[in-house]
Symmetry: C2
Subunit: 349 residues, 2 copies
């Protein structure tokens, strides 16, 4: 939510980018006691007077921007429309519950294609205990778009924000990085690369077209009490680390040697003559969780992720803000870590 | 929600219309105790364990379909994007609380236009106590679209569904009908009509571009305990009456002489040589509330609407289902009342 992924950076005239646009449009919103957390995190936290807080987020997938109809199957398109929202609820440590699905349909769209989109979406919904409770259908002269609002719940005081990180907190990330960007590279921007093992090529496609949200990991981390700040990586590790640091008022040092580069990224980068670390740090759309923990709680956090069936790695630590975002190379040298996703994702060819 | 308005009937190949499409895509959804009411009413009712139920709905406004950028001001576009959702929450007798706004932006959209869209939306939000709590921005190669999810609350057991109407229940409607359709006629499909008083023309424009949702009336009716079934009129009086009758398993007799035809509709219809009753019954987008009440509670319901600052009229009554939807003409003759909105709204020129 309100951190649109790298696949569709909006860039209105005069607004200077989408984060600036969101800030501009939502400037001066009044605070209210029932709005525990509004614009500016992965999801809103709302107080309906229940024991738990309501978690609410929305994210849209647009044909030609977030997915290519010829590259993603209809089932994968439906999967991803829900998955990116599940990832936002996961990033709060929340439990997803209910989805509203809004379809914008171009003229003459085939109903059987929509059947398949819903089959993919409903399969993922069942796996994560999400009920489809409503939605809307409207026609458009533009491309197919699926806008999904996901609602869930989080224990009062246990939801994980972007803003709680402190200098000295170890920085961790779940899973592996760079596979989705490797998929975009192998299937969209540089198709026809040679020498990529077929199983890795298939994993690259899946990472790009049907990402797996880290819901169980997020809930386990929220329950662990170890986490000080968390978000999901949709814009790329470096860009989302910058978001965490900005909201927490800290800097960060990332240890290049510890970054869990996906073997998929390594294979695709090698075939294209690129540095796989670049795919891992700035490729985007990995939908892993990036989080900081209290210095004495690393083991607790790692155990929580493991119990949830996942994996996580310490990749660095938070620092005082004036040090900015930095990367320690394997040879010990230190350089600035530049945020920013892949600009070629801006508009797919 | 899931009753898209007459301005944008989607018509995918092989699906036979959008209500059939929604039924097809959501077939076989499992029931869950936390989903008190799912797909098929104006909004979903969800149980988070709070004293009140959560009300959730979404509706999209697409340029060229739901609004014409040259005809509606940016402020009106923002107003309407929220108003149509407020109307859905009103139709449940709910209290609106929180909105998530998802923007699809065409290339090169002007940020100052978006400022104005948000100014209109935020002004209406303030009037109805709605907090903007999140959203999303994505780019598209298609037209500007604003998809809005509105969340609110309703007292447990007091939310008003479409399904509670019984034969013999008087049928009522708030406000006046046909003004929005008169606006579409005067400004879109038959521009240049002569002899319409300027103040009525202005009202026609406002009804089309910036409808007023009946939130206070809806809440007062829910609190009155008099209502047996309710929905909002977005698809047109006759089409939405058909929805109420279908969900309640009843028929209806409407008394033509009692239908509150807007003077706006009368003036515009006269200028175009039409029957104003046609605009009132099938024009669509009036965003008034259509409801049935227990036979001995008409006065209670009328008093509730009046206390909320609105007006309502008895326009007929529910009947056994086998009698269908009927219209009693002023001369006493009876004919079938044919649902269906204005097909020329399907795609604006």
């Amino acid at each position: 939510m309100d951190t649109p992924d790298a696949g569709a950076r909006a860039d209105p005239q005069g607004a200077g980018g989408e984060f600036e646009l969101i800030a501009r449009l939502t400037r001066g919103l009044e605070s209210r006691p029932d709005v525990v957390l509004g614009v500016g995190d992965d999801a809103a936290l709302l107080d309906l007077g229940a024991p738990d807080l309501l978690v609410a987020t929305c994210d849209a997938q647009v044909a030609g921007r977030h997915f290519m109809p010829g590259l993603s199957s209809p089932g994968e398109i439906g999967h991803k429309a829900l998955a990116v929202n599940l990832s936002d609820v996961a990033a709060m440590g929340g439990e997803p519950l209910w989805a509203l699905v809004s379809l914008l349909l171009p003229p003459g769209v085939d109903a059987t294609l929509l059947d398949d989109v819903y089959t993919g979406m409903r399969a993922l919904a069942r796996r994560f205990g999400v009920a489809l409770v409503g939605g809307n259908v409207a026609s458009t002269d533009g491309p197919l778009a699926i806008d999904l609002t996901l609602l869930g719940r989080a224990r009062r005081g246990a939801a994980l924000l972007r803003s709680g990180g402190r200098p000295g907190d170890p920085l961790l990330v779940t899973g592996e990085l760079g596979a989705a960007a490797a998929g975009v590279l192998a299937f969209v921007t540089a198709p026809g690369l040679h020498g990529i093992p077929p199983d890795l090529l298939e994993r690259a496609h899946r990472a790009m077209a049907a990402p797996e949200p880290r819901v169980a990991e997020g809930r386990a981390l929220a329950a662990s009490g170890a986490v000080t700040a968390m978000l999901d990586i949709s814009d790329g590790f470096a860009a989302d680390l910058a978001h965490l640091c900005e909201r927490s008022g800290v800097g960060a040092m990332v240890d290049a040697a510890r970054v869990p580069v996906s073997p998929v990224a390594t294979a695709v980068a090698a075939a294209d003559g690129r540095d796989p670390l670049g795919l891992a740090l700035t490729g985007g759309e990995d939908y892993e969780l990036l989080f900081s923990v209290a210095p004495d709680r690393v083991d607790v956090a790692l155990a929580a992720v493991q119990t949830a069936g996942g994996s996580a790695m310490v990749v660095g630590e938070l620092t005082p803000p004036e040090l900015g975002l930095r990367l320690r190379e394997p040879d010990g040298s230190v350089r600035p870590l530049i945020p920013g996703g892949w600009d070629h994702l801006r508009k797919w060819p």
